[in-house]
């Protein structure tokens, strides 16, 4: 068993590995091109010579062995869920089931072309159709588009649909209300659709109060975007009343579904009055995050917004499943083809593996784990909103600041203990925020180890603050000079002269 004397993290054998461009030797290759069995015409005979280039200078020349070692060594410099606890708040870093990787690579999926005639893609279409039905049921909404490639892409698609809906009523409206605790993508997505963003303050209990919405609401407000549970990990308990206020003036309620993990099978956004909601399949539905994608951000809507869904939709017909492009009120397309299909396969496999009871168990356990952490850590860290939380809890560095130890220092010190830090300095409404989301796939033992590490760091902040301020000590590199990176940007390798 691990304690602070024996931290989870320790030192292994880690290799230095230069850039691939500084390796290799002319003539080396990591690929075997099969012989060409058609006439080997000169390219100049087929394409005007002034449009041709020679071999690309600077591309590495390495063997397959070099390739495998290069990427394997670099991978060892990364932290991943497979290695340990990754409590990155709002990111829902749950275990990524391996069977999902296997099924996504079945030749019938991996080698299926997006322009297959529908009759020859019935398996893919049935999967998409069933996944749409499942997501609609989980969210309590009527239709779901699977097109968007990420959460922010889903937000953008949702806001576009809201705009098209208002446009169809004669006025696209000008404003979108967004609580201050929202993710930065909410205002950025709204701005891409030409909307002015009106911030809404949270009340003293950490949730949006109906009077604040009522005061900002008028007939020029297109929508309210609200994350529930919010980024403090709190359930927006007035959500139904807020939705009524927005609807009364013809506005739409956009639900940011980033935190759906906490409520699956327990309560449904559609039943709160949400009109549009994006799902983050790379959070709630176990698509691996891959170091920054691929994810997917399907968007569910109520019936009245369904005419505006992007094309194509998947429909069930008497002849089987079909892609439908004939939707005159559609916002158009937000990506090529029909979806990030491989992501859909993984999420479909995940939902099938869990079933209705499993999904509810996910939500319950995620919430139990978060409340356990919150309860056990509030002795050592300042907890600005001390009430039952959902999937995550937010602490601050208020008790460590007198020792000149900041949230950033605590985060870096956690690495030495073998943990990925929580999300830091977000949400913005908590100064020095430490946002911890354990997810349901962590055992009590892991949570206890993390708690022990956090408590040890709180002690260190008092007794040996330099140790915390100079962390991390274990990883390959220490704190990096981000100012230099931004002031003198080096964004690519260049050959040395």
């Amino acid at each position: 068993m691990s304690d602070t004397e024996h931290p989870v993290g320790t030192r292994g054998l880690v290799f230095n590995e230069p850039l691939i461009f500084d390796q290799g030797s002319p003539g080396r290759i990591g690929y075997s091109v099969p012989p060409c069995d058609v006439p080997a015409k000169k390219p100049e005979a087929l394409i005007p010579p002034h449009l041709l280039r020679g071999p690309i200078p600077g591309l590495p020349e390495v063997s397959e062995v070099d390739v495998v070692r290069h990427y394997t060594r670099m991978s060892q410099w990364n932290y991943g869920i497979d290695l340990g606890f990754y409590p990155l708040g709002s990111c829902t870093m749950k275990y990524n089931p391996r069977v999902n990787e296997d099924v996504a690579r079945l030749p019938g999926f991996r080698q299926a072309h997006p322009y297959l005639p529908d009759a020859l893609a019935q398996g893919a279409l049935e999967l998409l159709w069933e996944l749409e039905r499942d997501l609609a049921e989980i969210s309590g909404l009527d239709r779901v588009t699977l097109h968007p490639s990420a959460g922010a892409h889903g937000e953008l698609t949702g806001v576009m649909m809201i705009r098209a809906y208002h446009q169809a009523q004669g006025n696209p409206r000008r404003k979108i209300l967004i609580p201050e605790s929202a993710h930065g993508t909410n205002p950025a997505s709204s701005a891409l659709c030409g909307y002015q963003v009106v911030p809404i303050k949270s009340g003293p209990r950490g949730v949006v109060e109906p009077p604040a919405v009522a005061a900002a609401m008028d007939d020029q407000v297109a929508a309210l975007m609200i994350t529930n549970p919010n980024t403090l990990g709190l359930f927006e308990e007035h959500i139904a009343e807020i939705a009524r206020i927005v609807h009364a003036q013809g506005g739409q309620v956009y639900g940011d579904g980033a935190n759906l993990n906490a409520v699956m099978g327990i309560t449904r956004p559609g039943d709160w009055g949400v009109d549009v909601l994006q799902f983050n399949l790379h959070k709630t539905f176990s698509q691996p995050h891959g170091g920054g994608g691929p994810g997917a951000g399907p968007v569910g809507v109520r019936k009245h917004l369904a005419p505006f869904l992007p094309v194509p939709t998947v429909e069930k017909t008497t002849d089987g499943f079909a892609l439908d492009v004939d939707r005159p009120q559609s916002i158009g397309k937000v990506r090529s083809f029909a979806a990030s299909f491989g992501v859909m396969v993984r999420s479909y496999a995940y939902i099938r593996s869990l079933g209705p009871d499993g999904l509810k168990r996910v939500a319950e356990t995620a919430v139990l784990n978060a409340n356990y952490l919150m309860h056990r850590l509030k002795g050592a860290y300042h907890l600005p909103y001390d009430r039952v939380c959902k999937h995550e809890c937010v602490f601050s560095d208020a008790r460590q600041l007198p020792h000149d130890v900041k949230t950033l220092d605590i985060a870096k010190r956690l690495m030495d203990y073998g943990f990925h830090p929580p999300t830091i300095y977000f949400p913005l409404i908590v100064a020095g925020a430490l946002m911890i989301e354990p997810t349901e796939t962590e055992s009590k033992e892991t949570l206890d180890q993390f708690i022990a590490a956090m408590q040890a760091i709180a002690r260190e902040a008092q007794e040996t603050p330099d140790l915390v301020r100079s962390a991390p000590h274990t990883p390959l590199v220490s704190r990096l000079d981000e100012t230099r990176a931004a002031r003198q940007p080096v964004l690519r390798w260049k050959p040395k002269n």
Partner: protein
């Protein structure tokens, strides 16, 4: 449940520690009226073996390229993916990491993305690339918005030979901020009409958008098009939907492009029924602060050791919120990693050789099909690995006949181009053998 470690005993201990009697007490903040009082209506849980059976059954009902002789391209290309790619991206350290917000324990992802940015620059002939976009069409749309921000202009001239779905996506995005689109027609050679493009360009044009190889497979002469755009102070945005072509064709950068947006799916990432794919976006150094998306930069740590971080974040949504260059956050890092491994494995010679095989095999197919009674090659200009076949029979009828012989003959163009009701877009990659091509020729009534 195999993905949830906590047992009933664990739950009990944790509830006791919190001081509540039951899990339900952790949900009392959800108003009673909003609670779901029945189980979700989704199918019951499957054991892993049963889940696999279900997925296999679905996969078996798709006509994949292992079972069908496929000539489908049109923005999604069948290229061989070396085995190392599949193995390396399954390493959990890459697969199960988040966006590299904590650089000290994310150097693997960061250095790999720095290398990816370099590889995209080398391929496209540009100076700076971001760390990936969603896919080709939305990358094109974001590049147009970028041109709009740089120039402050509101019109866009788009070649009709740009992928029709890319044009649709660009319109969807641009409509939100009121950009006006003009179109540049296609010549009889199957390339963008320089005169038409020049006529459409004006003092309000933010950018000219051309694709090479274009949607009909035609190789565009970019330099005069870029010059025409520059002559009116507009930017030139070159779209690349088939990156393998850049192993042989002069880079967009050399052709005068200011922005290059495209699709990296062709770089060994698989078909996947269209996604996940890989958008890329590259530009000149002077425009770097207008780029959307993540950027990785080189720096040093406290001991002076080289390391990498996400940088120039003041462009981005988490800092700038509604004033950001884009809302993009999660993109396609793992697919960018796959594309990098592909390019690094092939190297300059391998990439050139694969591109050459595409060119030669498509040329062979084009020659043979041109001689089939009832078939003709629609455009006379140079093409890379795709070309438009004009057929006497309706393409739909023809394709249905071919399907009965396990051949996917191409993509009918009529749905996007009413002026090409008899047009069939045929793609021939290095994966096709001479026998595969001869089988298509024979099935269409030509001789073996």
């Amino acid at each position: 449940m195999r993905y949830i470690p906590n047992t009933e005993a664990d739950r009990r201990q944790m509830l006791d520690a919190i001081g509540v009697g039951a899990i339900g007490e952790l949900f009392t903040d959800i108003p009673e009226a909003l609670r779901l009082k029945r189980p979700l209506k989704i199918p019951p849980a499957l054991a892993e073996t049963d889940a696999v059976k279900r997925l296999r059954a679905l996969a078996a009902r798709n006509a994949d390229t292992e079972r069908y002789n496929s000539f489908l391209g049109a923005g999604c290309y069948e290229h061989y993916s070396p085995a190392v790619i599949g193995h390396l991206v399954l390493r959990g350290e890459f697969l199960t990491a988040y966006t590299p917000y904590q650089p000290e324990i994310s150097q693997g992802t960061l250095q790999a993305l720095f290398e990816y940015q370099t590889l995209v620059c080398q391929l496209t002939g540009m100076e700076v690339s971001n760390a990936s976009m969603y896919e080709g069409a939305s990358a094109t749309a974001e590049a147009i918005l970028m041109a709009h921000r740089i120039t402050g202009r509101h019109e866009v001239v788009v070649a009709r030979a740009v992928h029709p779905e890319y044009r649709q996506v660009a319109r969807t995005y641009a409509a939100q901020v009121g950009l006006v689109f003009r179109e540049a027609a296609v010549t009889e050679a199957g390339a963008t009409d320089l005169e038409a493009a020049t006529r459409a360009l004006g003092s309000q044009t933010a950018c000219l958008v051309v694709q090479s190889p274009n949607f009909f497979g035609g190789v565009e002469d970019l330099a005069p098009l870029a010059e025409a755009a520059h002559a009116v102070g507009a930017l030139c945005l070159v779209v690349v939907a088939e990156p393998i072509a850049l192993g042989l064709l002069k880079s967009p950068g050399e052709g005068g492009a200011d922005l290059v947006a495209g699709e990296g799916q062709g770089l060994g990432t698989g078909l996947n029924y269209g996604g996940p794919a890989l958008g890329f976006l590259a530009t000149r150094e002077q425009y770097v602060r207008h780029l959307p998306g993540r950027l990785v930069g080189q720096t040093v740590d406290r001991e002076g050791r080289t390391g990498y971080v996400l940088t120039l974040a003041t462009r981005e949504q988490h800092i700038r919120r509604e004033k950001a260059t884009s809302n993009i956050c999660t993109a396609e890092s793992l697919i960018a990693l796959m594309a990098s491994i592909y390019l690094v494995s092939l190297g300059p010679q391998g990439l050139r050789e694969v591109a050459l095989q595409n060119l030669r095999k498509a040329a062979y197919a084009k020659d043979r099909l041109a001689k089939v009674p009832g078939c003709a090659v629609r455009f006379r200009g140079p093409t890379f690995n795709e070309f438009v076949l004009q057929t006497k029979q309706k393409p739909a009828t023809l394709l249905a006949q071919l399907r009965r012989k396990q051949i996917l003959g191409g993509v009918a163009l009529g749905r996007w181009y009413p002026e090409l009701p008899d047009g069939l877009l045929v793609c021939v990659t290095e994966q096709k053998t001479r026998a595969d091509i001869d089988a298509l020729v024979a099935a269409l009534g030509g001789t073996r």
